[in-house]
């Protein structure tokens, strides 16, 4: 069984369902639109900010503000790509055709990851340029130190969120269960842990908080995060690898 055959088949699968188009375009639209909105608001608010806030003003990061919402659509994309197989029962047909379960899972994830990366990267660049256009005189240039890294990092962040969801979904199989855990986790729990000072030190090692460090160019004043932008991304990658590893292990062991 050549892996290229499985890859081609997975590409047919992913492009032939409506949920792919819906979730990915929703992720792009939400991220860009909310980023533009927040950028406009920030430009108008800048004069009223304290000096400390003005010092830590990060125009690049502001234009990615929409990602907190856009990532939820990415999670839905990642979960559906994997759990569709289970909720429809197609998994039996697929695994009967590809008895090498590792090849099957990783081909599926590879295709979906590539697609998520293309969409994520495009979204990140559009969100940056539109956001900067709204920020007017406070804007950052793509050539400024660290800015290009942050913009590409935005695409990587969205991709990794999707891949993490794929790993979780291949562990849990049910789309409802996977979304029911991932959505509140990324939308609420992670934010709450990050906002309360007692849990802040733990919260910053969660995948989304660590990973979003890559999109920062100007660190907030008094920032004591023990890792840099690439270190944060590495922490996120470790989360993703662990989720994928257990997803693979369970798929290999379980009866389909």
């Amino acid at each position: 069984m050549a892996a290229t055959q499985v890859l081609r088949s997975e590409w047919t699968k992913i492009r032939s369902v409506a949920s792919t188009v819906w979730t990915l375009s929703l992720a792009a639209v939400l991220t860009i639109a909310l980023g533009v909105l927040i950028s406009i608001l920030s430009r108008n608010e800048f004069k009223n900010m304290s000096v400390k806030e003005q010092m830590g003003f990060d125009p690049t990061f502001i234009s990615f503000a929409g990602m907190s919402l856009g990532q939820l659509a990415m999670i839905v994309f990642g979960v559906l790509v994997v759990s569709n197989e289970y909720s429809t029962g197609m998994i039996r047909t697929s695994l009967a055709a590809v008895p090498q379960r590792g090849t099957f899972l990783f081909s599926k994830i590879a295709v979906a990851t590539l697609l998520a990366f293309v969409v994520g990267l495009a979204t990140s660049f559009i969100a940056f340029f539109l956001g900067q256009a709204m920020l007017g005189s406070y804007k950052a240039q793509i050539g400024d130190p660290g800015v290009l890294r942050a913009v590409i990092g935005g695409g990587l962040y969205m991709t990794l969120i999707a891949v993490f969801s794929m790993g979780v979904a291949s562990m849990l199989r049910s789309p409802m269960l996977s979304l029911g855990i991932l959505m509140p986790f990324f939308f609420l729990i992670s934010n709450i842990l990050g906002a309360v000072s007692a849990t802040k030190k733990i919260g910053r090692f969660l995948p989304d908080q660590a990973g979003s460090k890559i999109m920062q160019v100007v660190p907030p004043v008094g920032d004591d995060t023990p890792y840099g932008p690439w270190g944060g991304l590495l922490i996120m990658v470790i989360w993703v690898v662990v989720a994928l590893f257990f997803g693979y292990l369970l798929l290999k062991k379980r009866d389909a």
């Binding site: 069984m1 088949s9 047919t12 409506a18 695994l95 009967a96």
Partner: protein
């Protein structure tokens, strides 16, 4: 050729399949029968390497499924007609399966034509009826032009034309030298399609033989004899004469006699000798359904009970006697399947299997052993009606 050796599958405490050994040979359609929950689908999944057997193994052409090179080109399967992403249209569903095994897209259009779905190829399978879903599933199984085909309940939901088509397709595939393994609940359909049968009950092998042998081993052919209804003494006279000649005579509900162990001309001669007129003398050939029911009546997990409708019946006005419902003779009578005739060897090879020596048998409860001498037919259903009413 599919070969299972000592196949056992446990899900926690429940044993779904126990010590199953059989062979499915090429060139014939092999039927796979068993009551609901008897382990048919579990066995099919183990053949396809989807479920790992607890012990034992099953091979296709000598290899376990997961070791086959390019399995979809060697084995095609229809497991569940509804296991399709409803938002994907039929052609794309088949296309992604074809690409998995390097089958050209041209072949997808071919099989769509074979199953008659070419006009709905670009329709989402969400809107498909069960019969159309079955056709799509059969198309997927045929995709790789495999030598071994498995079908789990392929005719469910098909119209009569579709059933005929599936029957001819199975026979044609088998006549091309392929191995065809089909499970079904439709006995009349199996009798027409399959040449060989594998019957399981509660996860254990009950029979592995040709359809003809299965019917003759598990059913008693008998003659129905009717004497003039106006003269009951003639009936007794004939019963005595037939019993004396070595026949087994059972009275039937509608006054006829069921005679076993005597050929039809002999019954006629005996009646003539006893000076008894006959209104009917007809041979009765058992059907596959009858033979199957007789064999599996002890191995059925899900049995329906009579609907008591407690508390749902209307109160009758005082003074009115409830109308007793007597079943019309010969109608609505629960069939009673007499035990198979005693085997000449003395052994009963097709009785519920004996515990394997050495290994613990999960079904330690004594199997319902059919009595050797036929008792008077007792309809099973009335026994339930005699139970005391629920005190509620």
């Amino acid at each position: 050729m599919i070969e299972a050796v000592g196949l056992t599958k446990r899900y926690g405490a429940k044993t779904a399949v126990y010590n199953l050994s059989f062979q499915v040979r090429p060139g014939t359609v092999t039927g796979f029968l068993g009551p609901n929950g008897s382990g048919k689908s579990t066995t099919m999944r183990m053949i396809l390497g989807l479920d790992q057997p607890t012990t034992g193994q099953v091979t296709i052409g000598g290899y376990p499924y997961r070791k086959l090179s390019n399995a979809p080109r060697q084995v095609g399967a229809l497991l569940d007609a509804k296991a399709v992403h409803g938002g994907r249209h039929a052609r794309n569903h088949l296309l992604c399966l074809a690409q998995l095994s390097g089958i050209p897209a041209r072949r997808v259009d071919e099989v769509l034509g074979v199953v008659g779905l070419q006009d709905v190829a670009k329709k989402r399978s969400k809107g498909f009826s069960l019969g159309m879903g079955q056709r799509l599933g059969i198309a997927a199984a045929l995709l790789g032009d495999p030598q071994v085909l498995l079908f789990d309940e392929p005719v469910n939901g098909l119209d009569p034309e579709g059933i005929l088509w599936v029957r001819n397709l199975m026979k044609q595939l088998a006549s091309e030298g392929r191995t065809v393994f089909v499970s079904s609940h439709l006995m009349s359909e199996m009798a027409l399609t399959a040449e060989h049968l594998i019957v399981i009950g509660r996860g254990q092998l009950l029979a592995d033989m040709s359809v003809r042998d299965f019917i003759s081993h598990n059913s008693a052919d008998f003659a129905r004899v009717r004497t003039p209804a106006t003269e009951p003494q003639q009936r007794e006279k004939l019963t005595a004469a037939l019993t004396e000649a070595g026949g087994q005579v059972l009275p039937e509900q509608d006054g006829a006699l069921r005679v076993m162990g005597l050929p039809l001309p002999r019954i006629s001669d005996l009646a003539h000798g006893a000076d008894v007129r006959l209104w009917e003398l007809s041979p009765h050939q058992a059907s596959l359904e009858e033979a199957y029911m007789r064999m599996t009546q002890g191995a059925v997990d899900y049995r329906s009970t009579a609907d008591q409708r407690a508390g749902l019946q209307q109160q009758l006005p005082p003074g009115v006697m409830p109308q007793q419902q007597f079943p019309a003779p010969g109608q609505g009578q629960p069939d009673w399947y007499a035990p198979p005739p005693p085997q000449p060897q003395g052994a009963q090879p097709y009785a519920p299997p004996q515990p394997a020596p050495g290994g613990p048998n999960p079904y330690a409860a004594p199997p319902q052993q059919p009595p050797t001498a036929p008792a008077a037919p007792a309809a099973p259903a009335p026994a339930d009606l005699n139970k005391p009413e629920d005190p509620r």
